[in-house]
């Protein structure tokens, strides 16, 4: 057993002296309470340890015991609908043990040891199996939880049978005596193996118009949501967690408010997945390391989360991972680094910030999974970023920007205007447009790209026109340009705006999204044709049908199609004013 003693304590960081033989990232137990920490640097016989629990009350000279194992998570049945802290302690069990407040030094396994799962074999004795092969399944809610041969293990099945099993029990035994249990563990800082990465050809459908039709993210892609205070990062992450078309969602509350996790906990059991009609909680895993929980555990939380996401990906599922907020994660990194008196980079962040960020986002992807059946799975990562003062030039925003494929820039001035989601349509972009184009043309409309590009063109034009308006006032514009401003106002208010709190509009099916945009662009085309024949924009905007288009959010597709036809007729019927 490798042991040492505490020789310095500074906030979440301590030094352990004489801990010879330790490896980087070994987990250690400190003091009588066996508080958990992780070795993050070695200098001779001294180890620098970041502590996952509050260090108040620890003393110099207390004992440090090295477990000689890296920080790992337990993977197996029981993950879904659980809520964990940053190091996979189930908060429900902690609640049972220590009540409303989390006391220190409590250790509870991540997966329930007593619960029995009905294991149904998918392989038989004599089968040769390798890493990733599915030996059987258990039913976890409606999810078929596939029990896979863990990475690094292969052989011939000697014994396998249908039975009710606890997670630690063997589901099957190989000839060499290796047991494959319902659960296994995996070190969080190491990405799980897969066969190959694939291109991002499928969009993640979110039910949010500005995301799906304008700035899509691909399944297996990465997106960031930067935004100043109160611009809607959390609401966006939660909305995505609710409505994304994946089988599994991992939601990480990283250094943010505790109540927001309570929101998820109380709301998700009541909301149903619009696709499966089952409660959303039955596909969600939550990781909560809120602002008043120890910072080092916050640093670990995103790795804990993504490892679980990869595990379900390996079963062949699409997984979406939400992290709110990666800035708080970066700040945890900075705080620990600061205590180590490391050479600081920009704004005090450690020089390795960019490497850590890209290593994390790199774990996203659509892959051909390990296992002989070549199933595919994906992990999509959406990270919120909270730049201080909403200033996007700060290091976390800038470094994340270089990595991710979709950039949903939330905008303070739009949020003030209660334009939600406050995605700035000029600053935002998606690098997946070309990749997912075929899918949209097939599944939505062969007009999708043209419609989208037209919309973007008008919105960009609006910016130019607004500048002119600032000089001469709106009334001085030619009718053709007034028509553009009318159209962009409709795009903004009747299409882009989508309240997360609306019962009818918080989730908008893809087909309806398309027809809504179509209605506005068709209205614009009609308007500009009419203007060419001498009709005034005022005449057109006075039509009652325009007001009805403004109420499309509360309408269905049939109704919208009707409105398109009606608008077309009404505009055509207008006569030039004398």
């Amino acid at each position: 057993m490798i042991t040492g003693t505490v020789s310095r304590i500074s906030g979440p960081v301590l030094l352990a002296r004489g801990i010879k033989g330790s490896k980087m990232y070994d987990v250690v137990h400190v003091g009588a309470d066996e508080l958990r920490g992780e070795i993050i640097r070695l200098e001779g016989e001294t180890a620098v340890v970041q502590m996952y629990e509050d260090t108040t009350g620890l003393k110099i000279g207390e004992k440090v015991v090295n477990t000689e194992r890296p920080l790992s998570v337990e993977l197996g049945p029981g993950l879904i609908s659980s809520i964990y802290d940053g190091i996979q302690r189930p908060l429900t069990a902690l609640f049972g043990k220590s009540g409303d407040f989390i006391s220190r030094g409590i250790s509870v396994p991540g997966l329930d040891r007593d619960k029995k799962w009905a294991f149904r074999p998918a392989a038989k004795a004599g089968d040769k199996v390798g890493p990733g092969d599915v030996v059987g399944t258990v039913e976890e809610y409606h999810i078929e939880h596939r029990i896979m041969v863990p990475p690094g293990i292969a052989g011939t099945i000697k014994e396998i049978r249908e039975a009710d099993l606890r997670v630690e029990e063997a589901a099957c035994t190989l000839e060499d005596g290796t047991e494959i249990r319902l659960m296994h563990t995996w070190p969080v800082r190491k990405g799980r193996p897969y066969r190959t990465k694939m291109d991002s050809a499928l969009p993640l459908i979110t039910g949010q118009r500005v995301f799906d039709l304008i700035f899509p993210v691909a399944k297996g892609g990465t997106a960031m949501i930067p935004g100043g205070f109160g611009t809607g990062k959390t609401v966006s992450e939660q909305t995505l967690a609710k409505w994304s078309d994946t089988q599994i969602v991992v939601y990480i509350g990283c250094g943010e408010r505790g109540n927001e996790m309570t929101d998820v906990l109380t709301e998700f059991p009541e909301l149903v997945d619009p696709r499966t009609k089952l409660p959303l909680i039955q596909r969600t895993i939550m990781i909560a390391n809120t602002s008043n929980m120890p910072v080092a555990a916050r640093e670990a939380s995103i790795y804990t989360g993504i490892t679980m996401a990869e595990y379900f990906r390996d079963m062949g599922y699409d997984v979406a991972l939400m992290a709110d907020s990666t800035s708080r994660w970066g700040e945890a990194l900075r705080e620990v680094s600061g205590r180590l008196e490391e050479m600081p980079g920009e704004e005090g962040y450690p020089a390795y910030l960019p490497t850590r960020l890209s290593a994390f986002y790199e774990r996203a992807g659509r892959v051909v999974c390990a296992g002989s059946d070549r199933r595919t799975g994906s992990v999509t990562v959406v990270g919120a970023v909270s730049p201080p003062g909403g200033d996007f030039s700060e290091p976390i925003t800038q470094n994340t920007l270089r990595i991710v494929g979709t950039f949903w820039a939330l905008d303070t001035s739009l949020a003030y205007r209660r334009h939600f989601p406050s995605v700035n349509w000029i600053k935002s972009y998606s690098l997946y447009l070309d990749g997912v184009q075929d899918w949209y043309l097939q599944h939505v409309s062969d007009e999708w790209r043209a419609l989208r590009d037209r919309t973007m063109y008008l919105l960009q034009k609006e910016v130019e026109l607004q500048e002119i308006v600032q000089l001469v006032g709106p009334d001085a514009l030619p009718e053709g340009e007034k028509a553009i401003l009318e159209a962009t106002r409709m795009i903004r208010e009747d299409f882009l705006q989508q309240s997360a709190y609306s019962d009818v509009d918080s989730f908008c099916p893809l087909e309806k999204q398309y027809w809504m945009l179509k209605a506005i662009i068709a209205f614009y085309e009609g308007m500009s044709a009419a203007v060419n024949r001498g009709i005034m924009v005022r005449q057109i905007t006075g039509l009652p049908v325009k007001e009805e288009i403004g109420r499309m959010k509360e309408a269905d597709v049939a109704k919208i199609k009707g409105l398109i036809a009606e608008a077309d007729q009404r505009i055509a019927a207008l006569e030039v004013e004398k």
Partner: protein, 428 residues
């Protein structure tokens, strides 16, 4: 931490720098423990261990290091975390930044002694806060609704309006139907003597003091004390809420002064600064103090309606709490007012004639909104009054503009429809 009768003592203050004290070679010091510091002149101060190694212990001194010497000053380690004595009798009393009476009254008889750092609440155990706190101020009740358990940090550009506002909230806030059970923990950091006496006079005059616990750290009190002040206030608030089941609103003003204190410690520790010289962990630190924030700025109109963002609002409004149309109405007011404000800027350049008719209506709306909704003086408005003013204002705009409001709610609450209905008979 029990049973240690022998408190360790030492006189080896080795170094003093800014608010920090460096003490060498003390055995058995624990991280975060409280130390008593006895000055040669007989004064006693409180400090806390910030960093400890087998050679040096770093202590931050809450009352500042002035008069501390490195010859005679004695430091005594308590072996205990920072605690504050709490009791229901704190209501009506005034305390300093570390929770000692400063109103000349007796020490309180503690019902409990609480660690001011608090413990992490298990998110699983949290109740969703829901009760609506009525402040009687339209701009808050209508647009930034406060909810039980809320902490209201105030950042000001300094000036009296914010203080007036804070005092008015402290005075008027209530949970409808639960009058007796309401308390305000008012935490003022770095305020001037003049401001302090304004609050005292206001609270005494209006009788509000009896339901207020007032933590007061003055501008000329040691800055460092402020690091503890909001945590003391929260510990007291949690005690009143959990043990005595009171509805508690915590008002923290002015948080800027708290941030200054953090900066001061950070500088003394020679840490690498983040933005504007504030330590990099400041946001994390602030987050540990308040998990929910609304913002109020000391401008005219006293509440800048736009950047006020109460996160808890969503939970405290709607049917059964305020009214079903509350969210829609608030969104509409925000959106329309923001548009009206944009137009003002435009008018300054191009003149009102260059606007469309519709835009002119928005301008009128924005003016009326400020005069009737935001500026209300000392009036204490019921929620019904607030929302009915809101509807009267919205009625100034064409109905087609009210896209944030569901058609059903327009039919039910818009003055045009209400007047159309026969009096005395509510519409079907």
């Amino acid at each position: 931490m029990t049973g240690s009768l022998a408190t360790r003592e030492c006189t080896t203050v080795n170094n003093v720098s800014g608010p920090l004290l460096f003490v060498e070679r003390v055995k058995g010091v624990s991280y975060g423990e409280i130390v008593d510091i006895d000055l040669p002149n007989g004064e006693r101060r409180t400090g806390q261990v910030l960093d400890v190694s087998d050679r040096v212990t770093v202590i931050q001194v809450f009352e500042g290091t002035i008069w501390i010497d490195n010859l005679k000053t004695r430091v005594r380690f308590s072996g205990k975390p920072f605690r504050i004595d709490v009791s229901r009798d704190m209501l009506g009393r005034v305390f300093n930044g570390v929770g000692r009476p400063r109103d000349g009254g007796p020490e309180i008889v503690p019902e409990a002694s609480l660690d001011i750092a608090g413990m992490a609440i298990n998110p699983f155990a949290r109740d969703k806060p829901a009760e609506f706190i009525q402040t009687g101020m339209s701009a808050i009740d209508g647009l930034n609704t406060l909810v039980r358990g809320q902490k209201l940090p105030i950042f000001t550009g300094s000036g009296l309006p914010a203080n007036k506002l804070a005092a008015q909230i402290a005075r008027q806030a209530k949970v409808i139907g639960e009058g007796e059970k309401f308390a305000v923990v008012f935490c003022a950091m770095g305020i001037t003597y003049k401001e302090a006496s304004f609050f005292m006079r206001d609270f005494e005059r209006t009788g509000a003091l009896e339901r207020v616990v007032f933590f007061m750290n003055l501008a000329d009190d040691p800055t460092i004390e402020r690091v503890a002040t909001p945590r003391c206030a929260l510990a007291a608030a949690e005690f009143l809420a959990f043990t005595h089941d009171l509805h508690v609103l915590v008002i923290l003003t002015d948080m800027i002064n708290y941030c200054e204190a953090l900066r001061e410690i950070s500088t003394a520790r020679e840490e690498v600064p983040g933005r504007r010289g504030y330590p990099g962990y400041m946001y994390t630190d602030l987050a540990t103090i308040y998990e929910r924030a609304g913002r109020i700025r000391g401008r005219n109109p006293p509440i800048d309606a736009l950047p006020c963002l109460s996160r808890l609002m969503n939970l405290g409004i709607g049917p059964g709490k305020t009214r079903e149309d509350h969210r829609n109405v608030a969104d509409q007011l925000y959106a329309s007012y923001a548009y009206g404000r944009d137009l003002r800027r435009l008018v300054a350049i191009v003149g009102e004639e260059a606007l469309t008719d519709l835009d002119r209506e928005y301008l009128k709306f924005a003016d009326a909104f400020e005069q009737q909704f935001v500026s209300q003086g000392n009036e204490d408005r019921s929620f019904d009054r607030t929302i009915s003013i809101a509807w009267d204002l919205l009625a100034m705009l064409p109905e087609a503009e009210l896209k944030r409001v569901k058609v059903d709610f327009i039919r039910k609450y818009h003055p045009a429809y209400r007047q159309a209905r026969a009096p005395g008979r509510e519409g079907a």
